[in-house]
Amino acid sequence: MSLEISHLRLPLTSFVLELDARLDAPVTGLFGASGAGKTSLLETIAGLRRPVDGRISLDGTVLTDSAARIFRPPESRGVGFVPQDSALFTHLNVRENLCYSQRARSHVTRPGISYEHVLDVLNLGSLVARRIGSLSGGERQRVAFGRALLAAPHLLLLDEPLASLDRELKDQILPYLRLIRDEFKIPMLLVSHSADEIVALCDDVLVLELGRCVRRGPPSGLFIVSPRPHHELAKPTDLSPLNDGSA
């Protein structure tokens, strides 16, 4: 995978998001405090926001290019998006959520991604007939992963996928993210303000501050990996991990 972002400019309420980067790691982390522009960046890559300037291409396909007046709508980008609150369709049951995308229903998924395989890897088999309202937080997040995977995206954007879960649930869901990475080989861009998630999953990390990339590198170079349990890892800057959902 190669996601090329050049001269991207997106004005936000109190600063301008500006980025120039070429991302080609299997899992790239976007790290930073709430309000650093991480979610806005994901939304721009997904086509849910239109940048004023810049060019984004994925594996050679142009997603947006302000100079050439190209803007591919989100439905034809092949970019999956899992928001923090999972955003499941509450009027549909689990199976209907999983099969929402045309690709999931027509079984035109990529090699290695089939309905059965996704159910199996994410352990969703017993949930398919359930209503969304009856699911626990962890189950909801697994359904959200499955739904995004079954659309066979070329890139998966995960916006703080574990932030709404308590610590115990986080420890249960984290292995699923590793499984997704290893089983389906879909490149991922993971937004987080928790160092342990980044260390556990990412190969490359961009640290965002007020809309700019201030540091970049492998997590081992950015984080002090201590021998303590992984959720007590030191953080590179004193970023509040408290979730205010406004990123």
């Binding site: 997904a46 439905e75 899992v82 609150d85 369709f89 929402y100 659309a151």
Partner: protein, 222 residues
Amino acid sequence: MSSDLWQITWFTAWVAVTSTLVILPPGIALAWLLARRQWPGKSLVETLVALPLVIPPVATGLILLHLFGRRGLIGHWLENSLGIEIVFTWKAVVIATAVMSFPLLVRTVRVAFENVSPRVEHVARTLGAGPWRVFWTITLPLARQGVIAGAVLAFARALGEFGATVMVAGFIPGKTETLALSIYHSVELGRDGEAVAFLAVSVALAFAAVWCSERLLRRATA
């Protein structure tokens, strides 16, 4: 009198259903535009749509009479080019009830659309659904309670509409008689028994409408 009563009841219910069905598509479209899009003239349209709620119904009726009358802007054109007469026919009753209940429908459905999280619609887009598919499979189903509630409100308003109707449709026996007009007419003529019969049917009809909507709403939430 009793055959009249049934004829009038049938006509009233038919008018209320027709006017609700007529305003449902444009009402839902406008509610969506107000809830989800920014466009020039939005606040003007917002105010215009709310106007029938705040000005006297008789005044709305007078405006409609001027618009749809033989010399009116729309009425003149309709009669000359299509040969359609509006004023003092059943069509005038439907137009009056439609205009009077339109704001109630739009307001209720708009709130329902605003309560659907844009994030959920965004995710549907990234799953490959275009804007139309998102509207039909996500936004509308999630807002269905508000749409049902708005339609019932509009229907109830149409059942009881008096002021605007009497201005544009008059009170023509066998042609534009609705229950509300008949109650007033009976009382005016001192036929109290008749008025009570019309009253009873009005209450029964309204009761049935509210009861049905409660059932529908309960099923929609289940």
